[in-house]
Symmetry: C2
Subunit: 240 residues, 2 copies
DNA sequence: CGAGGGTTTGAAGTGCATCAAATAGTGTGG
DNA sequence: CCACACTATTTGATGCACTTCAAACCCTCG
């Protein structure tokens, strides 16, 4: 692993998750003691499935891919996370081992909290446990949606839905968004092959009237895209 | 709703979930006050998606189907729960509304805890919050697996995998299990059509050498079934 | 017995995966 | 700044798994 330690002067990134809302000074103090903020390069594998859990990671910047590998070399994307997300917490409760592998998909800045320390903080500060519960139940809901999407939406619709979640709220016309990471990874994230992604994107362009230039997407009319993507779904835009 | 209230003398079902492990007398007392245990008939709809959340349900017995409905009438199964499972808790943290619908798939006995009361208990008893976190992270892991299964396993493998999770631990030869609910529901649970289920089951019979009589399944050699089902998966039997 | 739901079987269609190959894009060293 | 190597993306052709529609069968229960 290529890690470059940096002095950690702020907890902006931590606070961003909403995890430590309502926590008192004592908590931030105690956090500052054991944590480190690190810059980690694309391609670095943070840990693999089955490793003993050492840290909870809070992402400040960049992208992290969580995945599982099967016996015959296939890869299942668990999630792809970015700013404000955290992971590794689930290992705190089970057998203390990570249940997935983590790789840096785009250069990352992250805060690492030793897992035992994190656990202590939770046990001593109910507020944070509640915050975590709140976070977790939101994520569970998202996972439910994910499964629903896989079942009910076809490839072009899934891509459209993915784009919708990248759109800023409030605006409905002339939206410009950027795909967050390379298309192969987006494809994997959406549970399809790169070839399928390419073809599905082409269909989406035609049928929902959007324009794509590399990683840049131009959506002239949001309604058209929602109509196209969300019709097969149990919740309409904004789907959360 | 056809509800029949019954006096609630024991908290066996509550304790079964592991939710209240380590909680003191005060908690159980306070629970007994507001809760009721009820018998509810197959087909009853407990609530639908969007309803204001009133209770957390703890299942004592029977089966509950959680699902979402899409605009065009399709149905996506979120989960199918039984003895020891609980649901409705996620609504405590968000907008206080259920994010899915719940229907009784097989006659149920359940304990209903008013949501505000549950929330109070959590806030006052960190132990229970930790228990919930522990439960939630286990369920999240299961959902990860679920998504992986949908992606990597074909229909017969998914059925085999489902059966494996019904097998008692330790035994490897001559296992008898019973499918928990009607085949249409199993199919939906596994994300396939009833017709596909029927055909896939037929293939499974041939290729993994199991016998099926109605809802009864006879597995003469467990290893054969695990080899057949788990090869495409990132974790081998017993897969959690 | 006959009605109705659950289950199976058949035939045809669709969507995605796979394999193969061409093309575009990116970064490297000369 | 160009040529090369290497990777990402696109395009084409084909196959397979699952869906869909239709009809038969089975089972249970009034």
């Amino acid at each position: 692993m290529q890690l470059q330690s940096q002095p950690d002067n702020s907890f902006d990134s931590i606070i961003a998750t909403g995890l430590f809302d309502g926590a008192d000074e004592a908590v931030t103090q105690s956090l500052a003691a054991g944590t480190s903020q690190q810059f980690i390069k694309k391609g670095t594998v943070l840990f693999i499935q089955g490793d003993e859990a050492k840290y909870v990671y809070i992402i400040h910047n960049g992208w992290i891919k969580l995945f599982n590998e099967t016996l015959d070399g296939d890869e299942a994307i668990v999630d792809i996370l970015t700013t404000g997300d955290y992971f590794g917490d689930s290992a705190m409760f089970g057998n203390q081992c990570y249940t997935f592998s983590a790789e840096v998909a785009e250069d990352v800045t992250a805060t690492l909290i030793p897992i035992q320390q994190f656990r202590n903080i939770i046990e001593e500060h109910p507020v944070i446990a509640i915050n975590m519960l709140s976070n977790m139940s939101r994520r569970r809901k998202q996972q439910d949606m994910e499964l629903e999407h896989r079942t009910l939406q076809n490839a072009p619709q899934r891509i459209g839905c993915f784009m919708l979640r990248l759109c800023p709220e409030g605006v409905t016309k002339n939206i410009l968004i950027h795909l967050p990471y390379d298309k192969t990874l987006v494809a994997a994230r959406l549970g399809m092959q790169p070839e399928t992604f390419s073809r599905a994107l082409a269909r989406l362009k035609k049928e929902a009237h959007i324009e794509v230039q590399g990683a840049t997407v131009h959506i002239s009319d949001l309604n058209e895209l929602t109509t196209y993507s969300c019709s097969a779904c149990s919740s309409s835009y904004p789907c959360e």
